[in-house]
């Protein structure tokens, strides 16, 4: 019987400090046993439990794309016991990874459609995975227009800044980067909150267009009315939720919303699904 709680051992290959406040670091992890990488077959939108021996585990969205081989990438915000310890670790250290866990964005349904990605703050990780996945030369022809609205408090708080600049220059994707405010006179992108930019830049809703939203609750709260105004059907609005988790496989009992477990039945739900669930998230 396979033990679903046993993490694969991985080595921290590279650590990148993403943001000016140094609270977000990206960890590139390499499997100690190469055969484990094949077992860790994942899709964009899934998450994993990062395991730090002596501290515990944390559920984190996978930031790398399944099209990127040889490593798995996670961007981790420093908040609690495990993440704080992780931030103090160095390249070469050994941790564990358990997964992939949860469902993914519904890629079968999304093929052939316009995709509008709306992200805020550090919840951009699985959205980065999705963008890299869709921009893969083999995958790109399978999608119509791709729009990305991504906002952070200030330019220095945006994740993956080098990649964002590259995507800005690509004709395969329409980027709408925004910051709440900046005093940088050379800032050449948008200024304003994500819901406002969404109203200005997002494609109108129709059967051929899906929105994927990931961000802090306040951003989601104010973006949803905008999407309603733009005529997005609730089964065309896709969201990824966060909950405190332990097991990640639907057994330990804490991450439920009604009868659904966010770890196993989610973390990705359509707004139409969420409309039917108790408002306890």
């Amino acid at each position: 019987m396979q033990n679903p709680y046993l993490p694969y051992p991985v080595r921290i290959d590279e650590i990148v400090t993403e943001t000016e406040d140094k609270n977000l670091k990206t960890f590139k992890l390499v499997f100690l046993n190469p055969a484990d990488e094949e077992k860790f077959y994942y899709k964009a939108g899934q998450f994993a439990e990062l395991s730090v021996a002596g501290k515990g585990e944390i559920p984190i969205g996978i930031a790398s794309s399944p099209t990127e081989k040889g490593y798995i990438m996670f961007t981790v915000n420093k908040v609690g016991l495990v993440t704080t310890h992780l931030h103090s670790m160095k390249e070469g250290d050994v941790i564990g990874i358990r997964g992939p866990l949860g469902n993914s964005y519904p890629w079968d349904i999304l093929q052939g459609k316009n995709i509008v990605i709306i992200g805020g703050g550090f919840a951009f990780t699985t959205l980065r995975s999705s963008i890299v996945y869709m921009l893969d030369p083999v995958m790109r022809p399978k999608f119509k227009d791709i729009h990305v609205i991504y906002g952070a408090r200030s330019p220095e708080m945006l994740l993956y800044r080098d990649e964002l600049a590259g995507w800005e220059n690509s004709s395969d994707i329409n980027m709408h980067i925004t910051v709440d405010a900046t005093d940088d006179p050379d800032w050449k992108y948008n200024t304003g909150f994500v819901p406002t930019i969404t109203e200005q830049k997002a494609l109108p809703g129709n059967a051929e267009t899906y929105a994927i939203i990931c961000g802090p609750p306040i951003m989601i709260k104010f973006t949803q009315p905008v999407l309603d105004k733009l005529d997005y059907a609730h089964d065309h609005i896709i969201m990824s939720l966060e909950m405190r988790m332990k097991c990640g496989i639907g057994m330990c009992g804490r991450c439920n919303i009604g009868k659904e477990f966010v770890c196993k039945d989610g973390p990705v739900f359509t707004l139409a699904q969420l409309d039917k669930m108790p408002k306890e998230f």
């Binding site: 021996a53 804490r254 669930m277």
Partner: protein, 351 residues
């Protein structure tokens, strides 16, 4: 596996009981109820210790025999000079065959409800599943049910057989043992019980007598058709939860509560990853790293517990409620919150 023929019944003379248990202890790790001050509890029986079958029920359920309150999952070494440091290794476990003697039918049936969580087509919890498979359940029918028992309307009963391998019925100077599964058949051989009798009628009449001793009931027939959001937003939760002090006694005593936590413990350079019972009654259970908590108030946590048992579980598995009517939470709640009342309120609620 249920035996597909008319069930076999043997008679066990009580004067041979000590020797029979000794026989069993040669091939099984034995567990049974023992007296502990004013209460009974299940524990592993040392050599020469007998299960005390003169009891109503244990204060805590026997779920810990399969699902310990605290158990080691993994071990690891944090000394960087050692090979495989920081790599999790499976802890060694004893899954040799074990038998529980004298478990009440409701508590045995509870394992079947919990199995739906731990043993799924997609994923199996190896600790629970292996321990469960290693266990033979020898039940003790309830001739005199307790006033808080409501098993007959909770999908169970004082002579209920589902979840048991053998059902013992106390008939004075002897027990009848009804053999329910092939696991039970094996235990029968190990004990040397072979006096077959035809006691069907006698057992049936004792069963009916016991069932009439159950005097409290719940109604669950309408739960499935209720709209989840209606029950969730119902106005009665504030009242129901008002007295609750979120002590968690109900979840610890309950045979069907299975929630757990995973924690690392470190001593010097060696560490263990532990799995411990947890409770939805505690605010830390759902507290996010950000400080946000979707179940921040006591009312929300009480609502979660009862909605889980009486609505979410019903909808998820389409196999009844997540309760066997053992009555422990009713008897032990320090502020008299009563699942029977809450269940009936939910069942009859109209928006």
């Amino acid at each position: 596996m249920n035996l597909g023929y008319t069930m076999k019944v043997v008679r066990i003379d009580k004067k041979n009981w000590v020797g029979d248990i000794e026989n069993l202890s040669r091939s099984y790790r034995l567990f049974g109820p023992v007296k502990d001050d004013n209460f009974h509890r299940f524990e592993e029986l040392d050599k020469d210790k007998l299960p005390d079958l003169d009891y109503f029920n244990t204060r805590l359920s026997p779920k810990s025999i399969v699902y310990p309150q605290s158990e080691t999952m993994f071990e690891y070494c944090l000394d960087e000079r050692k090979k495989d440091h920081h790599v999790m290794k499976e802890a060694s476990k004893d899954y040799s065959q074990r038998a529980v003697i004298g478990i009440r039918p409701c508590d045995a049936a509870a394992f079947l409800l919990v199995k739906r969580n731990f043993d799924t087509p997609e994923c199996k919890d190896p600790y629970w599943v292996k321990a469960y498979e290693a266990t033979t359940f020898v039940g003790l029918a309830c001739n005199n049910p307790h006033s808080a028992c409501f098993c007959t309307t909770a999908g169970c009963g004082p002579f209920h057989e589902d979840g048991l391998d053998i059902l013992l019925i106390d008939a004075g100077n002897h027990y009848f043992a009804k053999i329910i599964t092939s696991k039970g058949e094996n235990l029968l051989k190990a004990a040397g019980w072979d006096t077959k009798v035809d006691a069907g009628k006698e057992i049936e009449s004792m069963k009916q007598n016991a069932e009439t001793g159950i005097t409290s009931f719940i109604a669950t027939n309408k739960l499935k058709d209720k709209i989840t959001a209606d029950l969730f937003d119902a106005p009665f939760w504030e009242d129901m939860a008002f007295a609750c002090i979120n002590c968690g006694t109900c979840t610890y005593a309950c045979p069907t509560c299975w929630c757990f936590d995973i924690q690392d413990e470190v001593h010097g350079c060696s560490g263990t990853r532990m799995r411990n019972w947890d409770s939805c009654m505690y605010p830390l259970f759902t507290l996010h790293g950000s400080g946000y908590n979707p179940r921040n108030t006591g009312m929300q946590r009480v609502r979660q517990r009862f909605m889980h048992k009486l609505k979410y579980y019903v909808d998820k598995y389409d196999n009844g409620i997540q309760c066997v009517g053992c009555g422990r939470c009713v008897s032990l709640c320090p502020v008299n919150i009563d699942i029977r009342k809450i269940c009936n309120t939910m069942n009859s609620y109209e928006k």
